[in-house]
């Protein structure tokens, strides 16, 4: 009896410190989680955060042999130069035009394709179509660039076809600026429309079938059903896809442009990313090139944050 009461006293005495004990034990347990995160944290710090600090060279007359510390500071000179010359502004324009056309095409083409595919009743046919149209997404622009350059040459398969069917002169697709832009936009849509449709197909599968049944009872035909049930149901996901791609409006597609273009179309085809590469890595103008990159990163950051906010506000979309 006495024994147990001592135990009780001890228990009461130790009660106030109990949460602390539990807290420290919990900390000790969760430190495993910190250790698991460590490799990713280190790699991210080294390869993502350290380069961010390297952006100081955008405000320097950077000389590789002097490094960040000794290179002289020149303030906003690089930025003034970027916005003062016509050639440089042209690069920004090209980026916006090409990316803008891709945003529009990249929203409409997958949407229409998803709607058409949704009307297919034969499962085997549907699966076959899907298998084929998703495929280009997984091939790199090196491979596709190689194929397209071959097919789009003045004697290539596409010109042979056009000459035979339309009886026109061969078109110099990759050597003329305006045609180059068309090729870039069309080939991007070609590569991605199938894959982009996945998200719309998923949304279509989620529409409540009783809505269609009710509409049929009311005598709505398929077109009316699409117009008043399917499309309105897709509006949230369209807003998400559209706003998120607007957030990327300064990414006109380095891989693609770099693998398709040549000196003949620099004036209409050069985008910010290819420009940064040519001026920075090839010509060695690190400071100016970093300034262009910084401009793009800052504008891109603002756009992406705004896009996520808009997607959250209008379509309740979150990535977490």
């Amino acid at each position: 009896m006495k024994y147990s009461s001592t135990q009780a006293v001890e228990k009461i005495a130790s009660a106030p410190s109990l949460p602390d004990v539990r807290k420290s034990r919990k900390w000790r347990r969760t430190i495993v989680l910190d250790l698991l995160l460590l490799p990713a944290v280190i790699l991210t710090f080294v390869f993502a955060y350290i380069p961010m600090s390297g952006l100081v060279i955008a405000f320097q007359d950077y000389k590789p042999w002097l490094g960040f510390a000794k290179s002289s500071w020149i303030g906003l000179e690089h930025f003034e130069y970027l916005f003062s010359t016509k050639e440089n502004m042209q690069v920004i324009w090209n980026t916006l035009i090409i990316a803008g056309m891709k945003v529009v095409g990249g929203l409409i083409a997958p949407l229409v394709f998803a709607l058409l595919l949704n009307e297919v009743r034969k499962a085997a046919f549907k699966r076959t179509v899907q298998t084929f149209v998703y495929l280009p997404h997984f091939l790199s622009w090196v491979i596709l660039g190689g194929i397209l350059i071959d097919m789009l040459s003045t004697k290539g398969l596409i010109n042979q076809f056009l000459v035979a069917v339309l009886h026109i002169e061969p078109i110099f697709f990759l050597g003329e600026g305006n045609w180059f832009r068309v090729v870039v936009v069309v080939s991007d849509i070609w590569k991605e429309f199938g894959f982009g449709a996945i998200i719309f197909l998923a949304s279509l599968a989620g529409i409540n079938p009783s809505l269609y049944e009710a509409a049929e009872v009311d005598g709505a035909n398929r077109w009316q059903q699409t117009w008043s049930i399917t499309l309105p149901s897709l509006i949230p996901i369209m807003i998400v896809v559209g706003t998120l791609s607007l957030g990327n409006i300064l990414n006109a597609g380095f891989d693609q442009i770099f693998n398709l273009y040549n000196a003949l179309v620099f004036d209409k085809g050069d985008i910010i990313d290819t420009f940064v590469y040519r001026v920075g890595i090839v010509d060695g103008k690190f400071g100016f090139s970093a300034a262009v990159g910084l401009f793009k990163s800052v504008v891109g950051f603002v756009l992406i944050v705004a896009a996520y906010r808009a997607a959250y506000k209008f379509a309740n979309y979150r990535i977490f």
């Binding site: 991210t44 380069p51 495929l135 090196v142 190689g146 290539g156 398929r222 090139s289």
Partner: protein
């Protein structure tokens, strides 16, 4: 009901035809390049090859596979893809598991999450990254192709969402049996997440196999080029100075049929994993993208 109306039947015929044409448009370029690669030199150069080989021969393949530069790049790509996928998946799994915990059980989660997500929104860009790699003396090493891309924030998000859907009871049962977090991850979470892990691994493999730009800027010696970079210089840039020494190699390498064969070998691994990839990926993407 509407399936029986005449106008819907007309639409259906039109629809099936259009979708078949779209499928063909996605396939024809690949078939064409395959046909060129199996054709004789003369008809290929005269642009007489459409969708079927003319004067069938496998010369282009035997020449390609006899080119030691091509084989060396192929090997670099295999090593890069294998090692890179393995390392990336280990890092991604280890990061996704803690981040999938409830905030009540792991308070610091929020800080970590923002630490990673911020890198999706803002980055230093090409030039500071290039200078960093130079300063780290990583030029011409295999590591430059593997480590910088190992932390794929997007893959972490997909996987942590998958982990979140694992029933809580499984984890609680493991804890009661005395398992710690690490043990629970290995013995409970990994086995039930194999579909997601397989999907992400395949994505990582495809990414490594297709990646060419890092090879181009960080490898000053063409002997370290992965296959994608090799193909980029030969087929797209048509720059033979870096990869060919002997004149007879130059002759072989610039042939249209050889280029087509190289393109086809370059995409063959993708075509091989594609059927497996396709089974999984739709689910994986939808998990990450559509939230109710």
């Amino acid at each position: 009901m509407y399936h029986k109306t005449n106008s819907y039947k007309v639409f259906s015929i039109f629809n099936y035809t259009l979708l078949a044409v779209l499928s063909l448009i996605c396939l024809i370029p690949l078939i064409h390049i395959l046909a060129v690669s199996f054709s004789g030199k003369a008809p290929a150069n005269a642009n007489l090859v459409g969708l079927l080989p003319v004067q069938f021969t496998i010369d282009a393949y035997s020449q390609t596979l006899a080119n030691e530069n091509f084989l060396r790049s192929l090997w670099v790509s295999f090593v890069r893809t294998g090692l890179g996928t393995l390392i990336s998946m280990v890092v991604v799994i280890c990061a996704a598991y803690p981040l999938s915990k409830e905030i009540g059980n792991f308070k610091r989660k929020k800080v970590y999450t923002w630490f990673f997500v911020f890198t999706m929104l803002f980055n230093g860009g090409l030039i500071p990254f290039y200078i960093l790699i130079q300063n780290l003396n990583m030029m011409n090493t295999l590591w430059v192709l593997i480590l910088p891309g190992a932390v794929s924030v997007w893959n972490i998000i997909l996987l942590l969402n998958f982990f979140k859907n694992v029933p809580k009871e499984l984890e609680e049962a493991a804890f009661i049996d005395g398992a710690g977090y690490l043990r629970t991850l290995v013995s409970v979470y990994l086995p039930v997440s194999m579909p997601a892990i397989a999907t992400l691994s395949l994505f990582a493999m495809v990414g490594h196999w297709n990646s060419w730009f890092d090879g181009m800027i960080f490898m000053t010696d063409y002997k370290n080029y992965p296959l994608a970079t090799f193909l980029q210089t030969i087929i797209v840039q048509q720059d033979f100075s870096k990869v060919s020494v002997r004149p007879e190699d130059l002759e072989n390498i610039s042939q249209r049929t050889v280029k087509a064969a190289q393109i086809f070998i370059g995409m063959a691994p993708i075509l091989l994993v594609y059927p497996f990839l396709q089974r999984f990926f739709v689910k994986g993407i939808v998990i990450g993208a559509v939230k109710e």
